[in-house]
Amino acid sequence: MLEVKVLGGGCNNCKVTASLLEGVALDMKVKINLEKVEDIQDIMAYDVISTPGVVINGKLVHRGSVPSRQQVERWFSEK
């Protein structure tokens, strides 16, 4: 089970990122627990100033844009 967090204040790109993560997890049959972090203080705790950010098992792997499908596949297969 991967703990996945999407950091971002509910903007459109954050929603797109969250559904991309869910979709890829489903396709790759990877179990994830997805959490959307929308509180600004919590986002800042990861030192993310450009949203959306993606955190996997506590580690920030991406920030500033919607990740590409290939990137998400890489993160999930590395774990």
Binding site: I40, D47, I49, S50, R63, G64, S65, S68
Partner: protein, 337 residues
């Protein structure tokens, strides 16, 4: 199937060049096919649309691709590290210029603002960035270049940066720190070190593709609608119709354009073709550009987001200073040209 990204790019460039070169013959061929007179109102409107719409979309695709790659070097975090601890003046110029090449979405305005303040970027410098980032961007510049030529695009770039730099310096001099929301004032400074994430060429090209898919996928409809409105005005509104109330002699048209433009919000993509059509019918360039800058630079959604960190008073100062700067740009333009 070609899988090497570099080969794909070269291949794509060939196709792009071919398409771009066949724009004029294609539009002439298409208009000739239609059962309308070329010099009729409808004929002119159609000719305008079928030439300009594909041209602008093609230009935009290649520019967004290149910017998508350039953006991989200029993340907000790196920009912050470059600006932290500098004093007003030169840093404002740097901030405004970085605003052009750093990817920025108004939905990140709050974390970005706090991140900058936290790292010790002076407030005036942060504002220079916040003014330039939405106003001067590759989409606006590409459209201006495609529809008006490089001179107007360069003027827009120069004047947009000037507004951002001077606006930021002025806000910095006014010591507006006291008008931040209290919780922002209490944020402790922390050292920011930037760790560069190693990215391969492949990944940067991938980012370019992603940018095209994202940006062009989002704005193409605005561009088509904008150019369609432009085409309509081009074909049907009488020559010099605008001259009487948006022309050079009507000095009050500049403030009016800014007042109408500030609450309006559109991406640069939707507004520029309309501006082009206004110009073609006799509106003054300064008035039209002031209108466009005020629509693009200040947006109600962004102000609402910024309200979380700025008091109403500071937002009002921010809007007034930017609007005043745009007003000056409009007047100077109309005076000089």
């Amino acid at each position: 199937m070609i899988t090497d990204k570099r080969v794909q790019v070269i291949f794509g460039l060939f196709i792009w060049t071919g398409l771009y070169a066949s724009l004029i013959p294609f539009s002439e061929w298409l208009v000739a096919l239609l059962p309308v007179e070329g010099d009729s109102h409808l004929g002119e409107a159609i000719a305008f649309f079928v030439y300009d719409a594909p041209k602008v979309l093609l230009l935009l695709t290649v520019v967004v691709f290149v910017m998508g790659i350039i953006n991989t070097w200029f993340t907000s975090e790196r920009t912050r590290a470059l600006l932290a601890g500098r004093s007003l003046g030169l840093a404002n110029m740097l901030a405004a210029s970085l605003g052009v090449v750093t990817p920025f979405c108004s939905c990140s305005a709050v974390p970005l603002f706090i991140g900058f303040v936290q790292a010790g970027v002076p407030l005036g410098v942060t504002f220079s960035f916040l003014i330039a980032a939405p106003m001067v961007n590759e989409i606006a510049l590409t459209l201006l270049f495609g529809l008006f030529g490089w001179k107007v695009a360069m003027l827009y770039l120069g004047l947009g940066l000037t507004v951002a730099i001077l606006g930021g310096i002025l806000l910095g001099k006014l010591h507006v720190e006291r008008y931040l929301e209290p919780w922002v004032q209490n944020i402790t400074k922390k050292d920011v070190s930037f760790e560069s994430e190693a990215r391969s060429l492949e990944q940067r090209l991938e980012a370019g593709y992603a940018a095209v898919k994202d940006v062009v996928g989002k704005v193409w409809i605005y561009i088509l609608v904008g150019i369609a409105v432009g085409a309509f005005i081009h074909g049907y509104v009488p020559e010099n119709f605008m001259a009487s109330f948006m022309g050079r002699d009507a000095w009050w048209s500049v403030p009016l354009a800014v007042i109408i433009g500030v609450p309006m919000y559109s991406s640069a993509a939707g507004i520029i073709p309309v501006v082009q059509a206004l110009l073609a019918k006799g509106a003054a360039l300064g008035t039209a550009l002031a209108f466009m800058m005020s629509v693009v630079a200040l947006s109600l959604p962004e102000l609402i987001i910024l309200r979380k960190v700025l008091t109403v008073r500071l937002i009002a100062m921010f809007v007034s200073i930017v609007a005043l700067g745009i007003l000056l740009v409009g007047f100077v333009f109309n005076l000089v040209l």
